[in-house]
């Protein structure tokens, strides 16, 4: 395990904090802290707002390219102004509030949804010096904030005073709650190994390279790979993305919990979905992909925030790719997948990581055995439980009529 962590701290690396200190260095103490926090908030909102805007465009263009067509390319050069056109459209639509609806809840639901998704962005380390809020229990805070946003889904269904919207909202809520469990259970191994709930600490625990080209990210370990897979599937469900987007499906019972919303509030719901996607991807990068660390030792000259951005965009591309390919799961199949497949696998992953931790001290000759056992502990339950889950489903062989 190579020692030496924070080797290259170039001016490029320090550029954001240098800029921030330039702006606020002259202020006295309490004001300086306030000003720096405000700058951090504005930068996060700006960067992630823009990322959301261009993510919608990227999604449509990548989806288009996968479907052999160009995607939006009329507004601006290659369609680059499309998000702004969509924003203008959404802002100019009439905002309809049903007369029997509860006006406070009706207004509050999308606002709360977006706010909680944004709050969860505060603890992710975006670069070596770029953690907006360096909490010791950052991981706990993150999942608390993203879980609070589920309340807004129920608020949205309740506020419309529409029986069918309420039913659909309860179904959406059931989906979200069911997938919280695998999500959190897949994070526990990371915390166990890193020994800390702080995201910066977790990133630091994944530092270093073996022979300069194999990073110590959690994903290159068997339990880390399993945890990453479970985390990503649960993140798909948490963000209501395909193949778990039944609450938003057109062929669904009425229009789901968003029945009573129109105009900008409707757009806010989708904005919240994208922010949740971005936040969960950011946390996945932090927990499993080594955060802002470079993959190879020689590539450390590229600043840490650039590496974070590259990994984040790769995960978002994965989300879009999965959306383009897979059909939707029905609600009962979705729930069965969560409770009967992902929760058991996540629990078994805890056993795997415990074994991994306790066998860390084995001699070098026994390391392959350690790896083999860990891989077996991951793969065998996957195959067995998977077979049980898909029993009765199989490709079929067809016969032909006698001539």
């Amino acid at each position: 395990m190579s020692a030496g962590v924070f080797e290259m701290d170039s001016w490029l690396e320090r550029l954001p904090i240098t800029a921030r200190d330039l702006l606020t260095g002259y202020l006295p103490d309490p004001w300086r802290w306030i000003a720096q926090s405000v700058i951090a908030i504005v930068v996060i909102l700006g960067v992630f707002g823009t990322l959301f805007a261009f993510l919608t465009l990227a999604e449509r263009k990548i989806l288009g390219r996968i479907q052999n067509r160009p995607g939006p390319n009329r507004v601006g050069w290659a369609g680059i102004l499309q998000p702004f056109a969509d924003a203008i459209k959404m802002l100019t639509k009439e905002d309809i509030v049903p007369r029997t609806a509860d006006p406070v809840l009706h207004y509050l639901a999308p606002v709360a949804l977006v706010s909680f998704s944004l709050l969860s962005l505060a603890v992710i380390p975006y670069g070596r010096h770029l953690v907006p809020l360096d909490l010791d229990s950052g991981v706990l805070y993150f999942f608390a904030a993203s879980a609070s946003s589920e309340l807004s889904v129920f608020m949205a269904g309740w506020a419309g005073r529409n029986k069918y919207a309420l039913l659909a909202a309860m179904r959406a809520l059931a989906q979200l709650i069911s997938y919280e469990l695998p999500l959190l259970l897949s994070v526990v191994p990371v915390v166990m190994i890193a020994g800390t709930l702080s995201p910066s600490g977790i990133v630091a625990a994944q530092s270093g390279w073996r022979i300069g080209i194999i990073p110590h990210w959690n994903i290159v370990t068997p339990w880390g790979f399993a945890g990453f897979a479970i985390f990503m599937v649960a993140a798909l469900a948490e963000a209501n993305r395909s193949p778990f987007d039944l609450p938003e499906a057109e062929s669904e019972l009425i229009a789901g919990h968003l029945t009573e919303y129109s105009g900008f509030k409707y757009a806010l719901f989708f904005m919240a979905e994208y922010f949740a996607m971005i936040a969960l991807s950011g946390m996945a990068v932090t927990l499993f992909l080594g955060g802002w660390q470079a993959p190879f030792e020689v590539l450390q000259f590229i600043p840490s925030y650039a590496w974070f951005a590259i990994k984040l965009l790769a995960l978002l591309l994965g989300f879009i790719w999965i959306r383009a390919t897979l059909p939707r799961l029905r609600i009962d199949q979705l729930m069965r997948l969560a409770w009967k497949f992902m929760v058991p696998l996540a629990l078994i992953n805890l056993v795997t990581v415990a074994f991994w931790h306790l066998s860390a001290g084995w001699a070098t000759g026994a390391q392959p055995l350690r790896w083999a056992l860990a891989l077996a502990l991951v793969a065998v339950p996957f195959v067995l439980i998977g077979r049980r889950l898909t029993s009765g489903l199989a490709p079929r062989i067809y016969r032909y009529a006698a001539p």
Binding site: L63, S242, L246, S251, T325, A394, R396, R399, Y400, P403
Partner: protein, 390 residues
């Protein structure tokens, strides 16, 4: 399929139905899906009565696209009805044309030259290819793939439609068959293009199957959904791939041997379970068989006249009588029943639409399933409202 333990279960249509006369449970929820709905394949309305999630009653309402086709047929000459048959099942105009031409040729005893028969088979199989491709795309769209399989299917279908356009002048409303042959003689470049398309289609079907056939989510959505038993299918008059998916070996190309189909070797795939997955897979397998028929037909097509020289184009006055001409269209048995009273217009002009007859079983297939399943089942029956409503 969602079942409740508290009421007696009845075996019916291969699926289980809970007794509807049930005082224990409270109000049943009645929802109306359509006619403006993205998943109902046209202007079609389903009034579903739900108990919780499961459908206990489903009433299809259609007629939104009724255009008086059969009455128009009584007021139009035999030739003039040919373009209207394009618009019946608007995806498969070539086979509609052929069924009608077959009926009139039976009525007047008109022979058809050999080259025309080969061209008819080629076009019918191309139509079958593009219809089954369409269905695969639409079914996947109903299952929730956001458009990708649909776009791939339509990309290939466009090539077939381009062939139709360069031959008959129109992609969908071909108006191509005539009584006694075909309207336009396909040139050799067209036949060459058809050959190239046939060779390339197998690769597309392979890629499509790699995308979908073993997809676990697709299997979970379609296997066991909308099961149909063979007795009920035969008793209800179901024809086409829906019937063969239940295991009944009835393909009019083999049974009637109309045209020159007995000259071609092809197999008829049969399903075993009769569920949505079987209906989907049978169509993919039939598409492969169509490719094989196309290869044989394109190899053996002879030179000769494309239209019987003694056939009359206009002023047709058949002797009084009746005739029923049917073919194996891509959706099932499409038949035309004509009664002539000696005048230029038919006395009675009746169409047997396969989609309409196949749709009568929608309620039986959907009982016990959820609304999401009902959409998928409707997609697998493969209806076109132009044919259902005429």
């Amino acid at each position: 399929m969602i079942e409740s333990p508290s009421s007696p279960l009845i075996e019916s249509a291969g699926s289980r139905v809970r007794a509807v006369q049930d005082d224990f449970h409270g109000d049943l929820l009645e929802i109306s899906m359509g006619p403006h709905h993205p998943s109902t394949h046209g202007v079609f309305r389903m009034i579903a009565t739900l108990d919780g999630e499961a459908i206990v009653k489903l009433k299809p309402v259609f007629g939104y696209l009724h255009r008086n086709h059969e009455k128009l047929g009584e007021n139009t000459t035999y030739l003039g009805s040919m373009p209207y048959t394009d618009r019946l099942d608007y995806l498969n105009s070539m086979t509609n044309n052929w069924a009608y031409a077959l009926a009139v040729e039976k009525l007047i005893g008109q022979p058809v030259p050999e080259r025309a028969e080969y061209v008819r088979v080629i076009l019918a199989e191309l139509t079958r290819l593009q219809n089954h491709t369409c269905l695969a795309g639409f079914l996947m769209q109903d299952c929730g793939c956001s458009g990708t399989p649909l776009m791939y299917a339509f990309r290939e279908r466009e090539k077939i439609l381009d062939l139709f356009e360069s031959l008959s002048g129109s992609r969908m409303m071909c108006n191509y068959q005539r009584f006694g042959g075909c309207r336009v003689d396909p040139p050799s470049e067209w036949l060459e293009a058809a050959r190239r398309l046939t060779e390339g289609y197998g690769a597309f079907l392979d890629e499509y199957e790699a995308l979908l056939t073993r997809n676990e989510i697709l299997m979970a959505r379609t296997q066991g959904v909308g099961r149909l038993g063979p007795e009920l299918a035969v008793n209800s008059g179901i024809t086409g791939p829906m019937l063969r998916a239940t295991g009944v070996a009835y393909d009019i190309r083999k049974v009637d041997g109309y045209g020159i189909y007995p000259r071609f070797t092809f197999r008829v795939p049969l399903g075993a379970h009769g569920d949505t997955y079987d209906r989907y897979m049978i169509r993919i397998l039939e598409a492969r068989e169509s490719i094989s028929i196309l290869r044989q037909a394109l190899k053996d097509i002879p030179a000769g006249p494309i239209m019987d020289p003694k056939a009359k184009l206009r002023g047709l006055r058949p002797k009084p009588g009746e005739a029923y001409g049917r073919i194996e269209g891509p959706k099932g048995e499409i038949g035309f029943y004509l009664i002539s009273d000696g005048s230029p217009n038919p006395y009675r002009y009746r169409i047997r639409p396969p989609s309409f007859v196949n749709l009568t079983l929608l309620e039986d297939l959907c009982l016990g399933h959820t609304v999401a399943d009902a959409v998928v089942i409707l997609g697998s029956i493969d209806i076109v409202l132009g044919e259902v409503d005429r």
